[in-house]
Amino acid sequence: MPTTADQTTLHVPQGPALGDAPSRPRPHTGRRARRGKRLLNRSTPYLFLLPALAFMGVGLLYPVCRSVWLSFQDWKLGMAPESAVFSGWENYLSLLRDPNVYTSTGVTLTFAFTVVVLEVLLGVALALLLERPIRGMSLFRTVFILPMMVAPVVVGLIWRFMYSEQFGILNKIAKAVGIGGVPWLSSQEMALTSVIIADVWQWTPFIFILAMAALQSLPASAIEAARVDGANTWQTIWHVKLPLMMPVIIIATLLRLIDAFKVLEVIYIMTDGGPGLSTEILSLHIYKTAFVSQQLGRASALSNLLLLIVLALSVALFVFSKARERQARKVAM
């Protein structure tokens, strides 16, 4: 981005050693001055980035490093930090030996992939369905995206009440239709499904909004061309709309996947991981290891594993969006 850099330097006062007027560089400058200026040119963007980088370093890098360090220590919560003992790979090895970790990983994978698949299918389908201008649609769209704006803790509470076996509205309805009470959160078989339903309720709107935006930015004339070419509604969706929406759908999916791996509050409030370990996702397991069993080193090791999974997904996202960008730039040229 040479232009931006150039423009910026115009406003950067240059040192007296450069022998230049601050705002109007003379055409003939010495070699050293030129090199100094070029250096300044090149480093200016980074200078501007410095505060942000420093902030990130403290806010992000430090905790991560600390957690990596901690994962090699044997340290219980509540004991003096000096009492921490270096334990090598022991934390990681013990994780691998712990069947609960595998269960929890299984729950996390099941949860994350199920909710994301459901949310993407539902969100995209709804966007396609509600795309046509129907009266009252804008109101409906607004109502529809409300769940996303509710704080996770509140979402957990809402659903816990709705799922309540005695007072919950869902069981009232179930009884009214004659199904009888459903053990929404109290049975091992149902609990994960119930939690998944709540997450789908909360996050389908996210996919919906993005899919809607993607739909609205599709080239209208290509869709008209498909109609003239003999495509029916379904064929237009399948052969034209969806392929063109794909980049957005993929990004949205990855974003949701990353998020689904880290979900905590809603499940903590609804089931606290139970019954048994049936809804104990990794983040909850980490939380319990750290604050219930008070094994900080072990919890750190586990959270590093989770971080790795999420990191891998983030890299996938980054690589994909870079590739898109390159393609987009080609379009522009």
């Binding site: 290509a222 061309a225 003239v228 070419d229 063109l244």
Partner: protein, 363 residues
Amino acid sequence: MVEIVLENVAKRFGPISVIEGLNLTMRDNEFTVLVGPSGCGKSTTLRMIAGLEDVSDGEIYINGKPVSHLEPKERDIAMVFQDYALYPHMNVARNMSFALRLAHYDRAEIARRIEQVADMLGIRELLGRKPRELSGGQRQRVAMGRALVRDASTFLFDEPLSNLDAKLRTQMRAELALMRQRIRKNMIYVTHDQIEAMTLGDRIIVMSKGKIMQAGTPEELFKRPANKFVAGFIGSPSMNFFDAELASNDGPLAVVGDGFSLGLPLDAAGRLKAHRGRPITIGIRPTAFQVVADGQSAENAIRAPVVVSEYIGSNSIVMSEIGHTQVTIDIGSDAPIAVGESVQVRVAPEAIYLFDPATERVL
């Protein structure tokens, strides 16, 4: 046998009326050309026929059946869009084959058609590329190809050659004319290009501000324009118009204007009776002026000072000022005349068009 009829078709976008009371019959196998200034509603008309826009009023009939309620795909129409409307995610071959694939043509047949049309349009080597990797003119040819591979009964072309260079355009025009003889289908063709309109069209429809000004064969429109608009629109360079006055009844049958006096054919006397002694607009095509050698006197001669001289090889176009009116004169293959000199031209009385200044109708 396909006949398209537009009956009192109107189109409004909200409060804006774009098409008003359009009546039009396109007979079977006719090549109809729609011309008119930008924004006059040509694309809108095509889009209504295709079924992409609803008609606000009136009805469109294809083969005698009203089609207002029919989807585009039920109208058996192929269309070349003004903005190409290619599928961005499909390569050229897939863009062209899309309709055929939907209609379950077999692969060999699809391949055969694509090859044939791609050869005709000179886009064979582009078949593997995506639209974004093509130039504007290449995209336009692909858009054309996508329509031409189809078996539709009616083809709609919205300025399909507008983005091509002169040579390619001439070539494509010839290809179209050839294809036109091979497949007798209904074609409706929008263009700004006079030559395309005149050479391709069985019938030309001149539109202005959402109304039809005149419909007829190219020859009819050129020789017998119904009004000043058509007279000025058809023919290039356009017809010259002058404000003048028709000599009163006691004088000879002539028009007198600023800097000229021209006699009219005697047989016009009858229809001009009511206009004697009143203002009149006259029109003379640039090609209707004949150069008269200096010193030689001639009937209906005008001396025209040359303001701009454009020598374009086969002929010379001269801009002049007669009275206060800018005039374009085509002096044919004669040697170019220098600016500042003047030329003496004569106009045959039969070559003078007369218009009512109020209604702009031809007299």
